[in-house]
C-alpha cells in the first residue's frame, strides 16, 4: 500500500509525460479490444443466426457422383517399380483426376423417392424431405407469367405464424396455395379488402412451356452463333429444314415435358420474415425468393407429374437428424454412400475456425501497437529513474531495500499500464456504439434475414484481459529500468544533482 502511494505520488509529478505514455497503452488495448470483440461478435452473429431453430439438426443433401474413394491424397498409392519422381508425378495425377471427378460428368446417385426411402433407414435420420423449388404460371384470380413456388412441411406447421390473412393449409396434400405479401403488392393488392377479393378463389397452375414462332428461340447459344455465322443462302436453306427438325425434337420433348396443370385455391397471405422468425439456412434458403407456397406433398406430386423430373430426381433434399450431436455422423454416412451432403453444423464449424484464425492474426498485428507503447514505457521509466537518482539515494538512506525501490518503479509502470488498459477498454466500448450502428446497417443492407444482435461482443474475459494485458506489458517494460534503479549506489546518488 505504501509503495503504491509512493508510485502514485511519483506519477503525479510528471502528469503530461505519463499521460502520453498511458495513451500509447490506451491505443494498443483499444485496437486489440475492438478486433477481438468484432471477432467474438461475428462468431456470435453466425451462431445466433443458425442456432435455436432446427438448423443444427439439418443436413443438405444433393446427388453425388458415386465417389466412395477417399479424397485424402495420402491414400493414393502408385504401384509398380519406378523412379521416385515419376511415382510422385503419377500420384499427383491420380489425385487431380479424383478431384475433377467430383465436379464433372453426370451424377450417378440421384435423389428420388426410392433413394429417399432407402436413406431414411440410416440410423439417427428422422426424415428426408425433397426440397422442391419450381416455377409455374398462374391464371385466374391472379395472373403470373412465372412465379417461384415452394413446398412447406405442413406437419411441422412451417410458416403458420406468418399467415397475416386467410388461413394455413388444411392438409399436407391439399391443392392450396398461400401467396407472399410482396407478390400481391406487385399485383397492386395491399389492403384487407384486396386480400378478401382473392382469398378462396381458384387459380390454374401450369408448368412453363416455351414455344415461340422462332424455332431457334429455345436453341442453345452455340446453335444461334452457328446460325449467325452462315451465309444468307445457307441460313434460308437451314430455316426450311430446321422447323421440321425442331418439331421432331419438340414432339419428343413435349412427351417428356407434358405440361403440368392443376386448379389451386388461394387460402392465405404470408408476410415477409421479421427478426425473431425461425430461419433454417438449408430449409428456408430458397424461401426468401419464393412467392407462392404450397403444402409439401402437393409440391412433390406436381413435381413428379413431369417425366423429366422423375428421370432427373429432386435437385436437393433436406435430412432431419434426431439430435444435433449426430449430425456429423449422418453427414459422413451420406457421403460414404456417394452423395454430396453438408450440414449447417459443419459449415458453422468451418466459419468459426476461419473467424478465429483471422481474429488471432489481426490481433497479433494489432499487438504491434502495444509493443510500440511498451517501448514508450521503457523510455519513460528510464528517464524517470535518471531524473530521480538522488531521490532513490534518499529512499535507500532511510532504509528502503533494493526490492522496495524496484517495486516503486514497477508499481508506477503497472499503474500506467492499468490506467491505459482501462481507458482503452472504455474507449473501445464507447466506439462500439457507433460501430454497431454502422455495421448493423451494412448487414441489413445485404443480408436476407435482419440481424438485430451486436456486431461487437465483449465477454467478461475480454473486459478483464485488456487492462490485464496493458498492465502486464507495462510491468515487463519496467523490469529493466526498475532493476537499474534498485542497483543505484546510494553514496553516489546522494551527491547527484
Amino acid at each position: 500500500m505504501n509503495i503504491l502511494w509512493l508510485a502514485i505520488e511519483g506519477l503525479a509529478r510528471k502528469k503530461s509525460r505519463n499521460l502520453l505514455t498511458m495513451t500509447g497503452v490506451l491505443i494498443g488495448v483499444f485496437a486489440l479490444t475492438m478486433i477481438v470483440a468484432l471477432g467474438q461478435g461475428l462468431s456470435h452473429a453466425v451462431t445466433d443466426t443458425v442456432s435455436g431453430s432446427d438448423n443444427l439438426r439439418q443436413i443438405g443433401l444433393t446427388g453425388g457422383y458415386g465417389i466412395e474413394l477417399s479424397n485424402n491424397p495420402a491414400d493414393v498409392t502408385i504401384e509398380g517399380e519406378m523412379e521416385e519422381d515419376r511415382r510422385e508425378r503419377l500420384r499427383r495425377a491420380a489425385v487431380n483426376r479424383r478431384q475433377i471427378r467430383q465436379w464433372s460428368g453426370r451424377r450417378i446417385n440421384e435423389i428420388d423417392d426410392k433413394t429417399i426411402a432407402e436413406l431414411s433407414k440410416l440410423p439417427h435420420v428422422e426424415s428426408i424431405m425433397p426440397v422442391i423449388v419450381e416455377r409455374y404460371t398462374f391464371e385466374g384470380a391472379i395472373k403470373s407469367d412465372g412465379s417461384l413456388t415452394g413446398g412447406l412441411d405442413v406437419n411441422r406447421r412451417r410458416y403458420a405464424d406468418r399467415v397475416i390473412a386467410g388461413r394455413y393449409f388444411s392438409a399436407d396434400d391439399a391443392d392450396e396455395i398461400i401467396l407472399h405479401e410482396y407478390m400481391l403488392y406487385k399485383l397492386g393488392l395491399l389492403t384487407g379488402k384486396d386480400y378478401d377479393a382473392v382469398l378462396g378463389k381458384t387459380v390454374t397452375l401450369r408448368s412453363i412451356v416455351n414455344a415461340g414462332d422462332d424455332p431457334t428461340a429455345n436453341a442453345p447459344p452455340q446453335l444461334r452463333d452457328f446460325m449467325d455465322s452462315l451465309s444468307d443462302e445457307e441460313r434460308a436453306a437451314m430455316m426450311k429444314i430446321l422447323p421440321k427438325l425442331m418439331q421432331q425434337f419438340g414432339q419428343m420433348a413435349q412427351a417428356a415435358r407434358k405440361p403440368v396443370q392443376r386448379e389451386m385455391t388461394i387460402v392465405g397471405v404470408l408476410r415477409e420474415t421479421v427478426p425473431g422468425d425461425v430461419f433454417n439456412v438449408i430449409e428456408d434458403g430458397n424461401a426468401v425468393q419464393t412467392d407462392v407456397f404450397m403444402p409439401q406433398e402437393t409440391a412433390r406430386s406436381l413435381f413428379n407429374e413431369s417425366a423429366i423430373n422423375r428421370e432427373l430426381g429432386y435437385p436437393r433434399a433436406l435430412v432431419l437428424v434426431d439430435d444435433p450431436e449426430n449430425a456429423p455422423a449422418v453427414e459422413q454416412a451420406l457421403r460414404d454412400k456417394g452423395f454430396t451432403a453438408f450440414s449447417v453444423a459443419s459449415v458453422l464449424q468451418q466459419v468459426e475456425t476461419m473467424l478465429t484464425v483471422i481474429t488471432v492474426i489481426i490481433a497479433f498485428l494489432t499487438g504491434i501497437a502495444l509493443i510500440v507503447s511498451t517501448l514508450g514505457i521503457v523510455n519513460t521509466m528510464i528517464t524517470s529513474v535518471l531524473e530521480r537518482t538522488r531521490e532513490i539515494g534518499i529512499f535507500k538512506a532511510v532504509g528502503a531495500t533494493n526490492w522496495q525501490v524496484q517495486a516503486v518503479f514497477l508499481a508506477e509502470s503497472a499503474l500506467i499500464g492499468l490506467a491505459g488498459g482501462l481507458a482503452g477498454l472504455a474507449t473501445a466500448v464507447l466506439a462500439m456504439i457507433p460501430g454497431d450502428a454502422i455495421a448493423g446497417s451494412l448487414i441489413s443492407e445485404r443480408a436476407a434475414v435482419p440481424y438485430t444482435g451486436s456486431v461487437f461482443v465483449v465477454p467478461l474475459w475480454l473486459a478483464l484481459a485488456g487492462p490485464a494485458l496493458g498492465m502486464a506489458t507495462a510491468i515487463l517494460a519496467a523490469i529493466l529500468p526498475a532493476r537499474r534503479a534498485a542497483r543505484i549506489d546510494p553514496v553516489k546518488a546522494l551527491r547527484h544533482d
Binding site: 500500500m1 509512493l6 538522488r390 529512499f395 538512506a397 532511510v398 533494493n402 553514496v491
Partner: protein
C-alpha cells in the same frame, strides 16, 4: 567502561577512479562509545565522509571489520544493510536531501513508509517530531517553500523518526548561516541529551570543539593527532 556502539578495526575502503586506485580509508581503527558525540575533522578528501558512509551502511569496506550495535556491517547483504539503516541509524546531510515533491510531514515520515507503517500513524508521528523541531505550523509545506534552516530541521525530524541509536551528520550546518547553525546544533545536542550517539563530520574545528565530546582529525584516509587547529580549511 561504557558499551561500544561502534568498533572498527583495520578498516580500508578503496575505489577505482579510472586506472588509479584511490585509498579513501587506510586500515583505520575506530571506536565510539554509546552516548558519545564524536566529531570527525578533516579536509575534503581526508576520508571522513567515507568513514561516515561505512558507519551508516551506505557503503561497505574493502577490507577490515566494522561492528555497529553488535552487527558486522562488512558481512551484511544489501537487504540486511537496508534494514540496518532503517532501524539503527539516522542521516543528516549538508544538502538536506529532502524529496522535493513531498510535504514536510511526508518527508519526515518517509522512513516509516518503507517499514509499512500506515498513513494515519505516519502522519501522527511526523507531526509530533515536526512540533519538537519547532515546525508544527509548517507540516504541509514542500521544501521549496522553506528556508535552509527549516529544511534541515525537517531532515533532523526525519532522522529521528525511527528513534535510531546513532545519528550520522555530514556537515549538518555547512549550508547554513551562523544563527541558523546554532539552532540546528541545539537540536542535535537535544537529541544527544536524549540518548542518541552522534557522529558528525565537519571541517569547522570551532564547531567540533564547542559541541563534541571527542574530536578525531583525519587526513589522507587516516587519523592524525589533533594538534594543529590552524590546519583546518
Amino acid at each position: 567502561m561504557t558499551e561500544l556502539i561502534v568498533s572498527a578495526t583495520r578498516l580500508s575502503r578503496e575505489y577505482r577512479l579510472g586506472t588509479e586506485t584511490v585509498h579513501a580509508l587506510r586500515e583505520v581503527d575506530f571506536t565510539v562509545e554509546t552516548g558519545e558525540f564524536v566529531a570527525l575533522l578533516g579536509r575534503s578528501g581526508s576520508g571522513k565522509s567515507t568513514l561516515l558512509n561505512l558507519l551508516g551502511g551506505l557503503d561497505q569496506p574493502t577490507r577490515g571489520s566494522i561492528v555497529v550495535a553488535g552487527r558486522e556491517l562488512a558481512a551484511l547483504n544489501a537487504t540486511d544493510l537496508s534494514l540496518y539503516r532503517r532501524t539503527t541509524v539516522g542521516f543528516i546531510f549538508q544538502s538536506f536531501n529532502l524529496v522535493t515533491s513531498l510535504r514536510a510531514w511526508e518527508n519526515v515520515a518517509l522512513p516509516l513508509v518503507f517499514q509499512g507503517v500506515g498513513r494515519l500513524e505516519r502522519k501522527r508521528r511526523a507531526h509530533e517530531l515536526l512540533e519538537s523541531v519547532g515546525l508544527g505550523k509548517r507540516t504541509n509545506h514542500v521544501p521549496s517553500q522553506m528556508s535552509g534552516g527549516e529544511q534541515q530541521r525537517v531532515a533532523i525530524a526525519r532522522a529521528l523518526v525511527n528513534s535510531p541509536r546513532m545519528l550520522l551528520c555530514d556537515e549538518p550546518t555547512g549550508n547554513l548561516d551562523t544563527g541558523t547553525s546554532a539552532q540546528i546544533m541545539e537540536l542535535l545536542q537535544q537529541a544527544h541529551r536524549q540518548g542518541a550517539t552522534l557522529v558528525m563530520v565537519t571541517h569547522d574545528p570551532e564547531l567540533a570543539r564547542r559541541h563534541a565530546s571527542r574530536t578525531m582529525r583525519m587526513a589522507d584516509g587516516q587519523f592524525v593527532p589533533d594538534a594543529q587547529p590552524q590546519e583546518a580549511a
